[in-house]
């Protein structure tokens, strides 16, 4: 049986890991490569890097980061942040990452999903989707959560699946940074509507939150950032807890 995955997420700015609450108020959590190595040794199943560097040097620093990370870890990792061209994806994958996550660029040009999936395989293309409750529905936000779009949450997730994304990384902006638990209602419905793996993101505060999401929804993986960065919860401790509660994990 496929193990449920635990994925630390590293928001990277100029090679340092930062984390904010509700997408703002960034604080420093250490050098990206060192943290990546620590998580690999602690038993993380996979890592996600979101590059939030906003400069012209961005592409060069990102490629260097991937090479440095690939040199020290032997588990898969995903890289995202401002990726909009097929040739960029090619360079990133060749530098040693396994998947790229696409967010703003696919909202602006949805064809990019199928173009990328056809060239690199669906398994390399992650649709990163940021949702936020607006009135009685969920809307899609882009540009790191700064800009509301006219797309609806569930419909856009289904469109990404239909266009060939290999995985959905779903972040609830309402939950992100609150340590209040994942958005299990949305995740449950999402997993019933798409037949690709789904990664839950936003809201993890305790190990019970991971258990709840794996029990109540068919999500394949849970992602968290600050909880791991500041040693509030160890990955080994979390996985033992999940195993004791009959969740299949890789120990």
């Amino acid at each position: 049986m496929l193990a449920k995955r635990i994925i630390p997420c590293l928001d990277v700015k100029d090679g340092r890991v930062v984390k904010g609450t509700n997408f703002v108020n960034l604080r420093d959590a250490g050098a990206a490569v060192e943290l990546a190595k620590r998580y690999y040794e602690e038993g993380a199943d996979e890592l996600v890097f979101l590059d939030i560097t906003a400069s012209e040097e961005k592409r060069k620093t990102l490629l260097k980061l991937i090479e440095d990370v690939a040199a020290v870890i032997r588990i898969p990792f995903t890289v995202g942040g401002g990726i909009s061209e097929l040739d960029d994806i090619d360079k990133l994958l060749k530098s040693g990452c396994d998947k790229v996550s696409l967010n703003t660029s696919i909202v602006k040009r949805p064809e990019l999903i199928s173009e990328a999936a056809n060239r690199f395989g669906s398994q390399a293309i992650v649709a990163a989707i940021d949702i936020k409750q607006v009135g009685s529905t969920h809307k899609i936000f882009i540009k790191g959560g700064k800009e509301e779009t006219d797309k609806f949450g569930m419909l856009w997730c289904i469109e990404c699946f239909e266009r060939g994304a290999g995985e959905i990384l779903l972040t609830s902006m309402d939950k992100d940074g609150t340590k209040d638990g994942y958005d299990n209602d949305f995740l449950k419905e999402l997993c019933e509507k798409v037949s690709i793996p789904v990664i839950a993101s936003g809201g993890a505060g305790t190990k019970e939150h991971f258990l709840q999401t794996f029990r109540d929804t068919n999500a394949d993986a849970c992602l968290a950032a600050s909880l791991f960065h500041y040693n509030e919860l160890g990955i080994g401790e979390l996985k033992s807890y999940l195993a004791e509660n009959n969740i299949e994990v890789r120990i």
């Binding site: 049986m1 496929l2 193990a3 995955r5 690999y40 199943d45 090479e67 690939a70 040199a71 032997r74 588990i75 898969p76 994958l93 060749k94 530098s95 040693g96 396994d98 056809n118 060239r119 690199f120 395989g121 669906s122 398994q123 390399a124 290999g166 995985e167 037949s195 690709i196 793996p197 394949d220 993986a221 890789r250």
Partner: protein
């Protein structure tokens, strides 16, 4: 010297990093002459089957890879391309293993098969030295090779499928040893040192 075949879509960097860990000399290449000079061949695969076969044709490597007598390890798509043919792009492949790759189907499974799954060793192989059956390895694929007479390890995802195969000097693994932590490194080490 290990020849690491680069046909333009595979992720050679990750396999190269493992070979560096093992202090093994390697060359990343798509040239027949350099592959002929090497002692062993690793064929990592990521991407789409018919694209990969077109590239192998372009580099004039198909015949060489079909008849080569050196130890040869295909990884993921690399293993699938060692079969007769694949449903992915409906393409004729190298024809080493008498099988046709099929896409995962079924209402209860998600495709791609992505993540860490248990691998059962069904026949002894040097590739598995020092490892226990039921170890977890990392998978990321939508197509699979049905179980056949050359299967040395299997895994269940909706159905049992060939997770590793061996035939003479040819070895194939469906999972990514270069992304499967210490157990995966052991597979590469066994190939480099024992096969």
């Amino acid at each position: 010297m290990i020849a690491l075949i680069d046909y333009g879509a595979g992720n050679t960097a990750s396999v190269a990093n493992v070979l560096k860990d093992l202090n093994t000399e390697y060359i990343i290449t798509n040239r027949e002459s350099e592959i002929c000079k090497s002692d062993k061949i690793i064929f990592p695969g990521v991407g789409e089957a018919s694209f990969a076969i077109r590239k192998l044709n372009l580099f004039n490597l198909i015949n060489l890879l079909r008849i080569v007598k050196k130890p040869f390890l295909g990884i993921c798509l690399g293993m699938q391309l060692m079969c007769d043919e694949s449903d992915e792009g409906n393409v004729k492949c190298l024809g080493i293993f008498p099988s046709r790759c099929k896409m995962f189907e079924g209402n209860d499974i998600k495709v791609p098969h992505m993540g860490w799954n248990k691998v059962e060793f069904v026949k002894g192989s040097k590739l598995f030295d020092g490892l226990a059956s039921d170890e977890r390895f990392y998978f990321a694929h939508s197509y699979y090779v049905p179980t056949n007479e050359y299967t040395i390890a299997s895994c269940n995802y909706g159905i049992d499928f060939a997770t590793a195969m061996e035939k003479g000097n040819y070895y194939g693994v469906q999972f990514h040893p270069e992304k499967s932590g210490p157990a995966g490194i052991q597979i590469v080490r066994n190939f480099v040192e024992k096969c």
